[in-house]
Symmetry: C2
């Protein structure tokens, strides 16, 4: 869609020109437009899934489910904005008796930040790509979106962008509200454009940090919401065959190419790990997303298998086909805690693909400190324990440590398969994310909003959500006059 | 309190150690502690104001008012947290029929980010300093606070910190929850400490950007909430003596050393500006905060007065006393729009002190584009217009431009004298702030919180706000099972 500097400029100009009219649309209008996009994606579903299968090697079942999720999360955001609660409208009535001096009429709401640049991910060609969560959240907030397509699924990106743009146009949204660019250089150039007001990204720590640094070092820095790397440790107080089967399934789903794949499973020393090999052997070969990811995985797998003190539980296989694509079956190794801490540089890095490390521990009480030291920032941490162990309070310090270092703490279950809900958090301390913000779930919308207050404004010049007449019927939090003298008195 | 690397390490360690116990205090306990701090500050008020007068040259009236505001905003934050609404507790009931696949029980709340480093401002020795808004917001959120004292009021900082620490200790808060450091080098070293999880700052663009760059370039980057520079343009469709009097009062209050001082007043060409000189002549001499600010102001004033095309309306005076302190009366110059745009490098920079520029315009319809070009990021923008002009809609494009570039838009009135309310926004596009977040008002608390989700957790291991029993009685936003099929259907 663009190759030259000139057309990048036109794209940024179109996004900037769309910002004001798009910001002025009502939540209901914007919600209807999001639903129209969802409908259009589903209508084009068969064609899109077919392209995605070719480009990514992911299965039809997985891609169909992902497209359904992608369409549905657009509907969820439509539902989230339609009542206007996300605007956080606050009204201070003028108060001549205000304790610190007469208070004027002040009204504040959240407004869109302006054009957002989204860098699409490789591993979710629908849900974290062109029409994915970051785009849905930014559009819901009222921000024009420019997506930098991922090179791993270019044809799908172009076709998806056509569907999205067409649906938004038919729904009456302004031109320039959704655009696609291609190429890493163009993405970097656009990130530096002063008309871009926020960035979003899902991908590797290396690339994400590079882009975050660019965003922070602009003449006018902008927030950059990057979801970078996570190894998602799992702590188990026991390890039976059912747990190990489920672990292998979580490690190998989508060939382990998920941000929330459990990279480490901690089990008591002496646990019978023989079920791992059987479980891994039952997993069929899966193509990796692209040749580059395949090469990286093969190298990383060699390093982990070859690490001092590592014992292979499931060797797995890596095969490169005539087209240069890599196909793999799961690899699982085991180490003890000392080996892990001594070889942390080699072992702790994220392995993107069907590989995981089982760590044998002897001292359960040492786990909280060990976790805090080794895993300071993750999307998820998980605890598997028997009900009586959860009830007796002995695991509370470990739970504290997990919550302090993770965006989501799971009790039982597995971190892969992130649901999209009002209470989901997909973002944690660095390097899980460059901020602590979530990129999944309805709270993701707050990333693309900023507060604006209007003081002493005549009704007719106030945005609709702040008017006394409240034509959109949004929730308004009102601070009435005459109450400030009582504040802070609850505790006296 | 600290001079050596060793004691900096101890301070960071104490803050880190306090983080978990402080995070576990209930909003009511923390609110009571904030109220205790407010009480203690007011009890020590006479002594504190006396020290502040000596160190800053600000008047007793101003400082007494500022101390009252500082105590009161602690009470306001106590009131804000006590019901737990700020925790944004969200509960997804498990839902086997969830449209995109069975949904687990997921519960999310906002938790404190951990130790916060606050860089105190020079110009508000109470309200934006040791016990000021950033400290109040971080403590309210449950974060240990380390304040880097401003060198301009060191004795006051030490004494205030003693009062704050003592009150927190007596209220039962953990040791290490509030600490003071001194010295720019120590501040920078602490900002780089991995145990610090967020920074806050109020001061110059130069220093603020330097610190923001340090925060962004750490191995583990952290959010840095800096309030840097703002020239707060005011647009008037008329200029009578009353308006010009009020303008001069806003420019010269606290010797113009306020973040929201109007640096530019736009008036119609041909307006009678003779009232400016009279108003300025009636303003007495005021000491500037410290010799460094005095020198910078004198230089800046020379530059503005000497700018090509500038006409002096009020010359003002600058005098340096035997102690090296600078005393000044207001200076006001006038230029036309062309002069301003041609000399923007010389004229547009913020002048910290009693100086402002009146800009004469000929074409009111050109103001929106002019504003967008010259003032892309400010704390405030202000419009003075007659009621009939506000009512006829002709000013809507200007209001749009102001809202897109400012955190607060005023209609009538003057930007100085920021009230502390639930609807206040003190933060706007860069360089007004490094983020768009507010540092004044109850919304400031969100800067020091991050989302954490708990999936499938047993009740006894959930934080109190997420338990079904809800022992703190906080608002819980519940997403019940069986409703997802209807989402996004409103618009069909």
């Amino acid at each position: 869609m663009t190759d030259t500097e000139k057309s990048l400029d036109q794209i940024a100009a179109a996004a900037a020109a769309a910002a004001r009219p798009f910001a002025r649309t009502s939540p209901r209008e914007r919600g209807a437009a999001l639903v129209a996009v969802a409908d259009a994606l589903e209508a084009a579903g068969d064609e899109l899934v077919e392209i995605a299968m070719q480009e990514t090697g992911l299965t039809q079942v997985r891609l169909k489910g992902e497209l359904r999720r992608t369409a549905w999360q657009l509907r969820l955001f439509a539902d989230t904005i339609v009542d206007g609660g996300y605007l956080d409208a606050r009204i201070d009535d003028a108060d001549p008796e205000y304790v610190i001096g007469p208070r004027p009429d002040v009204r504040r709401m959240l407004e869109p930040v302006g054009p957002v640049l989204n860098f699409a991910a490789s591993n979710f060609p629908f849900a974290f790509s062109v029409a994915g969560g970051d785009s849905a959240a930014a559009l819901a907030a009222g921000c024009p979106v420019i997506v930098k397509a991922h090179s791993g699924h270019l044809e799908l990106s172009r076709r998806t962008a056509e569907v999205v743009s067409g649906a938004l146009r038919e729904a009456g949204m302004p031109e320039g509200v959704f655009q696609l660019i291609e190429g890493q250089q163009n993405g970097v150039a656009m990130l530096k454009d002063e008309r871009i007001r926020a960035g979003a990204f899902t991908g590797s720590t290396h690339v994400g940090r590079m882009l975050a640094d660019i965003a922070a070092s602009r003449p006018v820095p902008i927030p950059f919401y990057g979801e970078l790397g996570s190894v998602n440790p799992v702590y188990a107080t026991y390890a039976d065959a059912a747990l190990l089967d489920a672990f292998v399934a979580s490690v190998s789903g989508s060939a382990g190419q998920l941000c929330t794949k459990p990279g480490f499973l901690f089990v008591p020393d002496g646990a019978d790990l023989s079920a791992v090999a059987d479980a891994a052997a039952s997993v069929g070969e899966h193509r990796l997303l692209n040749p580059g990811i395949g090469r990286s995985f093969a190298q990383r797998r060699d390093d982990v298998i070859g690490a001092e003190g590592a014992t292979v539980l499931a060797q797995g296989e890596v095969r490169v086909d005539d087209a240069g694509q890599t196909h793999a079956t799961p690899t699982v190794v085991t180490v003890d805690v000392d080996t892990l801490t001594e070889n942390r540089d080699a072992l702790l890095e994220e392995s993107f693909g069907p590989l995981s490390v089982i760590v044998r521990y002897q001292d359960r009480d040492a786990l909280p400190a060990l976790h805090a030291e080794l895993f300071p920032g993750n999307l998820t941490s998980t605890l598997h324990a028997r009900p009586e162990e959860l009830a007796d309070g002995s695991l509370a310090p470990l739970v504290d440590a997990l919550a302090e270092t993770s965006g989501r703490v799971l009790f039982g279950g597995w971190p892969t398969g992130v649901s999209v809900t009002q209470a989901m958090q997909h973002g944690g301390p660095y390097p899980a994310t460059t901020s602590d913000a979530t990129s999944v779930g309805t709270a993701a919308i707050t990333r693309f909003l900023r507060g604006v207050a209007y003081q002493g404004a005549p009704q007719e010049l106030l945005p609709a959500p702040l008017q006394d007449a409240n034509p959109w019927g949004v929730p308004q939090q009102r601070s009435e006059a005459g109450r400030s003298t009582t504040w802070g008195s609850f505790a006296r």
